[in-house]
Amino acid sequence: MLAVVAALSTLAAARPAASQSSGGIAFDQIDRLLLEGATPPPPGSFRDDAARIAALQPLRPKFTTESEAKALTATMMLSSGLLGMIPIAGSFLGMAASKAMNAAYEAGRRKQSEENHAALMAFIATGTLSRFAFYHSWARVARAGTETRIEKADQGLTILLDDETHTARSFGAHGDTTYVIDTEQQVVPVLDAPPEVTRLPDLVIDGRAAHGYRSTANFTLPQQVGWCKHGPHRAVVTEYVLPVVDPEPAGTPPPDGGVSGICAPNGTASIQEPGKLVVYRAAELDSGSPEAFASMLERSNVRELTEGDAPFFSIPPGFTEAH
């Protein structure tokens, strides 16, 4: 199971540019990783899960040595950062996290730090809450109490707001060309058969009717991908979709129907209703086995933005710009 944790390293999802829709949209999102066979909560659990996150105590691990303390502290920060930065995380950060996690785990294992391990697992399983907003080509993502990132693609501008120090930093020269380059080669999973898709009864989630689907597939990986080891796997992906335009629609549909996306999430777009907003996704891998885990996405508070929300994408009053 700890291999799974270590393999958080490759959580490197690229976020496509926001759509050019006439209006805008905002929503809150919880990302979770359920380890050691934990069962995903049902759709409609957002409020309970958000309350659990809000009540989560900061990690206060017990350390035997100073070096162990440093390694584990770094691990916890990086793991929480990874979970919270899913849509914008970079692989470099992931690699750093992997090394720190491996080092931390080895240190913890050798020092019998089971309490620290359990605390870290609980922290990851509780997840993180982010608030997203999209308006024209602008995007804003905030992790409560930590950092807010604003991207204005039309201006080549990125603004980072540090919510603790109330400072803002801007990156990117106006008008410069920006290229997006992904060099990491895709490992193509081999499907035993096309994914089996079952339509689920509609559910009312957050006051709106959502369409439900369950995809099941068996596939084999020729090498490790993200947190999935090489070899055969079984994935079950449950997804509920709102009839609302997704500000981050997928490009070309993946050839495997998206089932192997559980291993290395590369977006949040709907597989079953492309272009529509996913409000619940539970992707379970190898359920019932010792290596089972699940990744979760829950969204709520979906609301439309108008022209009056434009200032929301600028440095707020009270923040000092750092250079």
Binding site: M77, G81, S91, F92, F171, G172, Y179
Partner: protein, 275 residues
């Protein structure tokens, strides 16, 4: 062979600082079986902040490595299957006796792997983390020792480790190659951005000079990533031959700090194409 920092090189041999406009990039000559590229890398790190006083601010031993890339075959799209050999020298300033030298050579054994080089001379390296981590240790101390020896001798582990190391040594070289391949002209003052595997790089053409027989442009390279865990900042320069679509050298300083424990590492790295 020890490489030289690009900083003095730039200061001495900067021939033309103000280049109004350079010609469009010609397509690089296609890769051919037998083509070979060798990069020499020197890296040195300092730790500061919340670290023991014995190491705070003091340079750690410098590490030298050579990465040789040999084209084995060329694909229809112009990319190539290449064989990469990573050779690491013992840390500078540390005397190795016969036993240590033998151990070091053992560590270096198998430091090779196959991967893809794009037509624009950037490597595409997949790192198999599972092979690096191995299955984990269990049992008595003796059993764990044996398991570690077995892992270190596993060819899959060795190849994955070499791939990880090469990816690190050539990270800036490959980033520059990827970012420059997107450009059709290189004019002094040009600036552009490239988000490469999630890292937000800034590039700028600062001049032009000769490097050996090559006519190269001088670029500044930088990125700064912030997150709730800390900050990683890279600043550097690179020499790039547009006609050959080849990175001739890089010099970078990377500062990584972690908020949680107050540790900061500063790593200076120089990579030079050996010709």
């Amino acid at each position: 062979m020890r490489t030289q920092s690009l900083v003095p090189t730039l200061a001495v041999s900067l021939v033309v600082a103000a280049v109004a406009c350079l010609p469009a990039t010609a397509a690089a000559p296609p890769l051919q079986p037998g083509d070979s590229f060798t990069y020499e890398n020197t890296s040195q790190m300092k730790l500061s902040g919340n670290v023991p006083s014995q190491v705070a601010g003091r340079p750690q031993p410098a590490y030298h490595a050579t990465t040789t890339i040999a084209v084995k075959s060329v694909n229809p799209d112009g990319s190539a299957l290449v064989h990469v050999v990573v050779q690491k020298l013992p840390p500078e300033g540390i005397h190795f006796g016969a036993a240590q030298t033998a151990a070091w050579n053992q560590i270096n054994a198998g430091s090779e792997f196959d991967t893809t080089m794009m037509p624009w001379r950037a490597l595409r390296i997949n790192v198999d983390i599972e092979a690096i981590n191995g299955p984990g240790l269990s049992g008595s101390a003796t059993q764990e020792h044996d398991q570690l020896i077995a892992l270190a001798s596993d060819p899959n582990h060795q190849h994955a480790l070499a791939a990880n190391q090469a990816k690190g040594y050539l990270s800036t070289v490959d980033a520059v190659a990827e970012a420059c391949a997107k450009r059709t002209s290189f004019a002094a003052g040009d600036t552009w951005h490239a988000i490469i595997d999630g890292l937000p790089y800034d590039f700028a053409i600062t001049g032009r000079q000769t490097a050996g027989t090559r006519d190269v442009v001088v670029l500044s390279v930088a990125y700064d990533t912030l997150n709730s865990g800390g900050e990683t900042k890279l600043d550097g320069t690179a020499l790039y031959d547009p006609a050959a679509q080849l990175v001739v050298g890089t010099h970078t300083v990377t500062i990584a700090s972690i908020k949680a424990n107050g540790m900061t590492s500063t790593t200076t790295s120089d990579t030079t194409l050996k010709e």
